[in-house]
């Protein structure tokens, strides 16, 4: 440009300047290393320090894994073999594998049932996670909770079938009465479902052994299976409840709004561990003495309440991030509140909230280990209790906790990777 001003200010370009490649040394691995690892004295020192730390860790951990002992019966045999070579005692995982996964009271002849339920879980969750799968698969997702209950708890198949029947009847009652008003639909549905359950209850009592699997009581559930049950059930329940709470908090109806605000603020202000103690001990006082609400059910209620309050706040953030114009555009096209919320507002708000929701879900899944303090034998409870206090394996801390960490890490990392994939997929070029 400088020469253009030499003679005159008027300038007309007659030839296009073709794009040229960047000068050499501006691309490639050498450039990357120079820029990112050795860009200055401080950065170089930090790089070398980092390499040294990684080296020390690997050198420290490698013999522990490489000299690991498998296939012995107790810690004394194990110590004899390792003899100070720093090897780990992985035999404990081998020996107590089934206890770690299923708890120590689940009948070993029935292990196939929760395993099968676990495999089916992937089939059930797939159409929810991957929107391009055929929608018909959602039918299986709907049946899955009842099937999984039947597989894990056993008893007559009539129980899950009648439970499902109640929901189906309630759904059709809702569809039928919704035309009059939403409230009529809701109450009609609840009433229809309750009546169905009451009537079919007699059927279950009459034939308690119809197509029955051996029953397993809730107190016999344990191990990682218990964490998985609590994690999946609570996440899948707390998401819809969280959405409802977030919408309720924005409602123009003051009573609904205040119920939601008080619920959210109260639950967020109380530690989860307190809620779990309430579930374990105090909740029993609220029910008549002869009814005994299942302990797992009580824990599920508490964890779900806890996480739905957090999810509600995350989603509220997503709702607040939407421009007002989106609501106005939906209104001006004549969409009603339910349609606008479902088709316009929620898809966008949920998309914004994905990182936050995943954060809560991962946290919730790890928090399920807190049930070990109310003497339930989940994975952590199993390790702390029956395994570490047995004469065979007392003192094998590192191997067991490393195993627990790996199990949780695999699940949580999987969730995190999925959410990042989903975020990329939902990217539609705006913002």
């Amino acid at each position: 440009m400088s020469d253009t001003h030499a003679q005159t200010v008027a300038f007309v370009r007659h030839t296009e300047i073709p794009p040229a490649p960047p000068p050499p040394g501006q691309t490639g691995a050498v450039k990357w290393m120079r820029e990112n690892l050795f860009s200055g004295p401080f950065n170089t020192i930090m790089t070398l320090l980092g390499v040294y730390i990684v080296y020390t860790l690997v050198v420290g951990i490698f013999p522990w894994i490489a000299n690991g002992v498998w296939g012995v019966d107790n810690i004394r045999e194990c110590r004899e073999i390792t003899q100070g070579n720093g090897g780990a005692c992985f035999a404990v995982i081998e020996q107590r594998w089934q206890q770690l996964l299923f708890g120590f009271e689940y009948p070993s002849s029935e292990y196939w049932r929760p395993t099968f339920a676990f495999v089916l879980l992937f089939v059930a969750v797939a159409p929810v996670l991957f929107l391009n799968l055929p929608r018909i698969m959602l039918a299986f997702t709907g049946i899955y909770p009842f099937l999984a209950y039947f597989l894990i708890w056993g008893g007559t198949i009539l129980i899950p079938i009648t439970a499902l029947l109640g929901f189906v009847v309630g759904y059709f009652a809702f569809r039928r009465l919704e035309r009059n008003s939403f409230a009529a639909g809701l109450f009609g549905a609840v009433a229809a479902a309750l009546i169905t359950w009451w009537v079919t209850g007699f059927l279950v009592q009459a034939a308690p052994n119809f197509l029955a699997l051996p029953e397993v009581a809730s107190r016999n559930m344990g191990g990682f299976m218990l964490n998985m049950i609590l994690g999946t059930v609570c996440v899948s329940l707390s998401l819809p409840i969280g959405i409802a709470l977030a919408l309720g908090r924005q409602s123009h109806m003051p009573i609904i709004k205040w119920i939601c605000v008080i619920f959210i603020e109260f639950i967020r202000g109380v530690p989860l561990i307190t809620l779990l103690f309430v579930a374990n001990v105090v909740l029993a006082y609220f029910f008549p003495p002869e009814t005994s609400l299942d302990l797992i059910l009580r824990v599920i209620i508490m964890i779900t309440m806890f996480s739905s309050a957090y999810i509600a706040e995350v989603i509220r953030g997503g709702l607040a991030a939407l421009p007002r114009g989106q609501y106005e555009a939906a209104d001006s096209l004549g969409l009603d509140y339910a349609q606008a919320t479902r088709l316009i507002i929620m898809p966008q708000a949920l998309k914004i909230s994905i990182p936050g929701i995943v954060n809560v879900a991962v946290g919730l899944f790890k928090d399920t280990t807190l049930v070990s303090v109310i003497s339930m034998f989940d994975l952590v409870g199993m390790i702390r209790g029956p395994i570490l206090s047995s004469t065979d394996w007392a003192g094998v801390y590192w191997e067991l906790w490393a195993f627990a960490s790996v199990l949780f890490f695999v699940v949580c990392y999987g969730i995190s990777q999925y959410s990042q994939w989903l975020e990329r997929k939902l990217q539609t070029g705006h913002r």
Binding site: E328, L333, D336, Q348, T428, G429
Partner: protein
């Protein structure tokens, strides 16, 4: 143009506003608005910012609530009855300054959403209608893209097509070209002119005075929440009566 336009105006009333008042808290934004719009009329509303012109047209499809007076659209009285509001909204299309397309849906889905869910049109038919109107605004080839991939002018034309898919009898435009680059204003105005020539009843809040001269058969000037002056465009621009209007016109036409 103006004469043919005048012929299209019928004496059937499309919108009737009587003694309408609106407050934001204690601030009196709209004061004693009386306005009758006949079918096929094209009205341009102008005025300084904060004069209540956007608020006025937003009251017509109940995006804003008015506190006093009556608004009747196509014979339906606008009240707090949700059924009436929904009826009016499905008859009245609206375009916004910032387009307000739904960014998570494709252009085609933006256009078919309301017909499918509000009018219960079968999906196939809704898509045909949408393509028809997208061709009309000259962007059928963008149908499968997302709004974020389009330019501002294209987005605003999609927004117009989206409103038209509901087959509205009245169109409201709230400063449709104010957020656009100068190069894109024309393509949107051309679309609006075409719409006007087909006899659509239109209320436009805009500062495009060339558009007002060419298309409008009435120009309304608002200030401080009141209708200060209204007249045919020629008279309004060449011979403004009120001092306030003269000042406003000298400011926007003076450079």
């Amino acid at each position: 143009m103006n004469e043919t336009a005048a012929m299209q105006v019928s004496d059937e009333v499309a919108i009737d506003i009587q003694g309408m008042n609106k407050w934001y808290g204690t601030f009196h934004v709209l004061r004693d608005i009386d306005l009758t719009v006949f079918r096929g009329e094209r009205i341009v509303i102008c005025g300084p910012s904060g004069s209540g012109k956007s608020t006025l047209i937003r009251c017509i499809n109940a995006l804003e609530e008015h506190q006093q007076g009556s608004i009747t659209v196509d014979g339906t009285l606008l009240s707090s009855d949700l059924k009436n509001i929904d009826t009016i909204r499905s008859e009245v299309g609206m375009c916004f300054q910032h387009f307000n397309l739904f960014p998570h849906l494709t252009i085609l889905e933006n256009c078919t959403l309301a017909p499918i869910w509000v009018r219960k049109t079968p999906k196939k038919e809704a898509e045909e209608t949408a393509m028809h109107f997208l061709e009309k605004v000259k962007i059928p080839d963008q149908a499968l893209k997302y709004p974020g991939q389009l330019s501002g002018g294209q987005q605003q034309r999609v927004a117009i097509a989206r409103s038209l898919c509901m087959r509205p009898r009245i169109m409201l435009f709230d400063e449709p070209t104010s957020a656009l680059d100068p190069e894109m204003i024309k393509e949107v105005l051309d679309t609006m002119i075409e719409l006007a020539e087909e006899g659509m009843t239109m209320l436009c809040v805009t500062h495009e005075m060339g558009f007002a001269r060419q298309v409008a058969n009435r120009v309304i000037f608002m200030d401080a929440g009141q209708i200060v002056e209204q007249n045919e465009p020629e008279e309004f621009f060449n011979n403004p009566k009120s001092e306030r209007t003269q000042l406003f016109l000298s400011q926007i036409l003076g450079h």
